[in-house]
Point group: C2
Chain length 234, copies 2
């Protein structure tokens, strides 16, 4: 993290969303930029090259995770993370009655809450990671100049799975097994959606990590290896 992050334009963008009052969407271009304002200017290139990757980055950065929730009382499947920052009474105006949800679901939704600016920083981080994958489209200079002051140089092949440390290839974004994408957004601490805590991971790695923090996960698997070896040697 360098301290020389360029100041952003930050101009308020129009929105007709029913959630517009919860958080103001703002322009993510550098201060005093030329041309139109843009919430996700660093995603303009991927919009053409890999539109689904762009959509995934925005979705993962800004929306709570979809879950295969079977019942009506399981809560909303996806909702803007900053909406989940609101107190229960304000959520009622969006037809979300938290008191009707199970404690586990409430905890899950609240864990995934994050304010608008934090989500925008996460979107930037994920974009940086996507361009850092082997096989990624070459990052155009103007986008590079928007991301590198935040996170450092973009070198293709630098992005490894957040959990297993194996290099991620950009082509994994378009592979899916049984309808599930092969790449997911993972959190070192599953209860903290912030730029320093997120990264792309293999789906199976994200599943294996489960609700543990990454530190807990590594400690856990080290214990497994030790117990397995002790059993073998005994």
């Amino acid at each position: 993290m360098t301290p020389q992050r360029p100041k952003l334009c930050g101009r308020e963008l129009n929105s007709r969303s029913k959630y517009a009052e919860v958080a103001t969407r703002t322009c993510g271009l550098p201060e005093a930029h030329a041309g139109d304002c843009d919430e996700y200017p660093y995603l303009g290139h991927l919009a053409k090259e890999a539109p689904r990757v762009r959509a995934k980055i925005i979705r993962d950065a800004t929306m709570t995770t979809g879950a295969a929730w079977a019942s009506d009382d399981a809560g909303p499947n996806r909702i803007l993370r900053w909406v989940m920052m609101l107190p229960d009474k304000d959520l009622l105006s969006f037809n979300i009655d938290m008191t009707k949800l199970k404690p586990g679901v409430i905890a899950k939704l609240r864990d995934k809450a994050a304010d608008y600016d934090t989500c925008m920083a996460v979107a930037r981080k994920l974009t940086y990671q996507a361009y850092g994958m082997s096989g990624a489209p070459t990052c155009p200079t103007d986008i590079r100049s928007q991301l590198e002051p935040w996170f450092g140089p973009i070198n293709p092949g630098m992005t490894v799975c957040h959990v297993c440390w194996i290099k991620l290839d950009f082509s994994l974004f378009s592979s899916a097994q049984r309808g599930k994408a092969e790449i997911e957004t993972a959190h070192a601490n599953p209860r903290d959606h912030s730029e320093n805590n997120v990264g792309f991971a293999h789906r199976e790695c994200n599943i294996a990590q489960g609700t543990k923090t990454l530190d807990e996960f590594y400690e856990w698997i080290e214990g497994i290896i030790q117990r397995k070896n002790a059993a073998r040697d005994s």
Copy 2:
């Protein structure tokens, strides 16, 4: 596995199930036993002490795993494992049209197939493991004599999670999080339902193992530790 397994009665039991023609259910008591025949004689004690554990053992031993299958074309949720040994054309008479299922679902169902005798051996093995957990009800002598010739002495506290090698406590059978049982039946090779391949495991361990064999899982987590340490030291 000792070679001195007692011969079983094996007398055919009456069944009114529509699947009765697929496999004959047989008596699991020792040859020349007194009293009535019984398919699961070694589960008589748990029927009183922990009926849900008995039901789980029978279910896991004999039925394909339930999955949260959302769509109509996802196939049956649970079906007798030996029914899944039948060729496609015979399954049609049970209203299962395998040609209408997705390849992944077909593979999953077929992977979980096992013949009746193999399932009965698995039920025995799981019962043995349950009695070997810390906190388990004391195994009555008559049941001990039915299980130990197959698997060796039952010592409370001997049963460890099939994946993580931590001792399993019998009380985990009655704990559940978000409606999911804390203990599941795991397979060292997920595509082989047989007595030497099954064991109880923590739900989270079974999930982390995923579709890997246990050997693949251990190799995988050893690789993660190595890469993580290499990254830390570089």
